[in-house]
Symmetry: C2
C-alpha cells in the first residue's frame, strides 16, 4: 500500500507544500521515493503534529530538519522534530548556533536517499539566510518572496546585501526555475525566477540597488509580534529559553 | 519574454493554486501554454484583483470561469470576471442558474486551447456539486477534502449521496491522481486518491456509508458566517441581490 501511496509522484521525489496561517509560513516536505528518506524545511512549532502525521502516513523517515534562517516571526519546530524523530538539524554556519547538528556552508549539499539539496548563501534579510535548490525548485526563505522581498531592518539585515544575493545568485538561475518562498501574505503559493525578474516590485522590474535600498528604508513596518520570544527560542533551535 | 515566463512549465499546461485566507478557499488557474487560453476555477470576489493580475502577467486570456458549486461561505467572482474579461461562466446544470453561460452536464468537457477539463457530477455537499479532472489532477471542490469531506447539512446536502459520489466516482480513479480541494482549514495544499482512500477520516479508511452518515449527522457545525449573503449572491453568479 505504501508503494501505491507514493506511486502518485511521476518523478523520483516527493514534494509537499504546507501552510501555517497565523504567520503565513510555508513548510516544505521533500522525500526520496526510492529509500523513503526525507527532509523538512522551515517547520513551525504550532503545526509539528500535522507535519509528522503526514511524514508517517507517507511512510517517510526524516533525515534532516533545515531552517533557511533564524526566524523572527515564529518558533521553529527543529528541536522538537529532532527530539521526536532523530533527524539532524541544519542551518547556515553564519548563524553560529551551538544547538545545531550541521553548520551549512555555501554550496554544501545534503543527501537523503538518492536525492540531494544544495544550500546557497543568500544573506540580506538576515546575515545567515540561505536558499535551497532541489531539482527545478528554489526554496528562497525570506530572501526572494513572491513579488516581494524579506524585510532588512533587524537581525543584521542589509538591503544592499539582499539585492546582491538575489541579483548575483538567485536571478542567475534559468527563468523556468520555480520559486517557493518562506512566506506569502497574499495567498500565492509559487512563482518562477522569470516572473520575479520581470514583475517583482522591489527586486525585479529593472529596479537598481539604490532604488531597492530606498524602498526598504521606507517600509516602516511594525516589529513581528513574536520577535522577542521567537529569536531567543530559535537561537536554541526552537527550545524556549528557560 | 512571455515565452520565457511560460517556459517554466515542463508540461504543456500552466497550473497555479491560490489561497483566500478569510474563508480558506482555493482558487485554481489552468492555462494552455501553446495558445495562452486559460480557465479559472472557484475564484473569490475578494481576491479577484490578485487573480486577474496574475492572468495578465502570464499573458493568458480567460475562456471560462467555473464554479464547482453554489458556494455558501464566500461570494464567487464569476460575474465580475465575466464582466472584466469576457470569459464565459460555467456551473452544473443541476444548479439551475439563469445567470450562467454554460450549464454543465456530467462528463461534459470544456476545451481551452489544446487543453480539456472534464466535469464529473459529485452531488452530496450540495445537490449540484461537480468535480473536475485535468491531466492527473482532480479538483474536488467541497466533495472530497483532504482527510475530510464537505458538510451536508444545507443546500440539499445528503451524506448518503456524498458517500456514493466519492466512492463510486472519485475513489475509482487511480491512487496516484492528485486531489486539489476547494478548501483546506489546516494548511494542506494537495493530496492523492490513494492517501484519501487510506487515511480520510470520514470517507476513507474502511468507513461504511452508515458510519459516514452518522459522523456527518453529529458534526453540529455553526452555519457559515456569510451564508445569508453568499448563497443569494451566488445564485446570481456573484452579483449581490439588489
Amino acid at each position: 500500500m505504501e508503494d501505491a501511496i507514493l506511486s502518485q509522484f511521476d518523478s523520483e521525489y516527493i514534494f509537499y507544500q504546507l501552510f501555517e496561517p497565523e504567520t503565513s509560513t510555508y513548510t516544505y516536505l521533500l522525500g526520496d521515493k526510492e529509500t523513503k528518506e526525507a527532509i523538512i524545511l522551515d517547520p513551525v512549532l504550532e503545526t509539528v503534529d500535522r507535519d509528522l502525521k503526514l511524514v508517517q502516513e507517507l511512510g517517510l523517515k526524516l533525515s534532516f530538519v533545515i531552517d533557511t534562517h533564524v526566524h523572527a516571526d515564529h518558533i521553529t519546530a527543529a528541536a522538537e522534530i529532532r527530539h521526536r524523530t532523530g533527524a539532524k538539524t541544519a542551518i547556515s554556519s553564519a548563524a553560529m548556533l551551538e544547538c545545531v547538528n550541521i553548520h551549512l556552508q555555501d554550496n554544501q549539499e545534503l543527501q537523503f536517499g538518492l536525492q540531494k539539496i544544495k544550500a546557497i548563501s543568500t544573506p540580506g534579510h538576515t546575515n545567515s539566510c540561505m536558499s535551497f535548490l532541489f531539482h527545478d525548485m528554489l526554496f528562497t526563505g525570506d530572501s526572494l518572496m513572491i513579488r516581494s522581498a524579506g524585510r532588512t531592518d533587524f537581525q543584521q539585515g542589509s538591503s544592499a546585501l539582499l539585492y546582491e544575493s538575489v541579483h548575483n545568485k538567485l536571478f542567475c538561475f534559468p527563468d523556468w526555475i520555480k520559486v517557493y518562498p518562506g512566506h506569502d501574505y497574499r495567498g500565492q503559493t509559487v512563482s518562477t525566477i522569470g516572473l520575479e525578474k520581470k514583475f517583482n516590485e522591489r527586486l525585479g522590474s529593472g529596479k537598481s540597488k539604490e532604488e531597492f535600498c530606498e524602498i526598504m528604508a521606507n517600509l516602516k513596518l511594525a516589529l513581528p509580534k513574536k520577535i522577542h520570544m521567537a529569536v531567543p527560542a530559535n537561537l536554541m533551535c526552537g527550545k524556549p529559553p528557560v
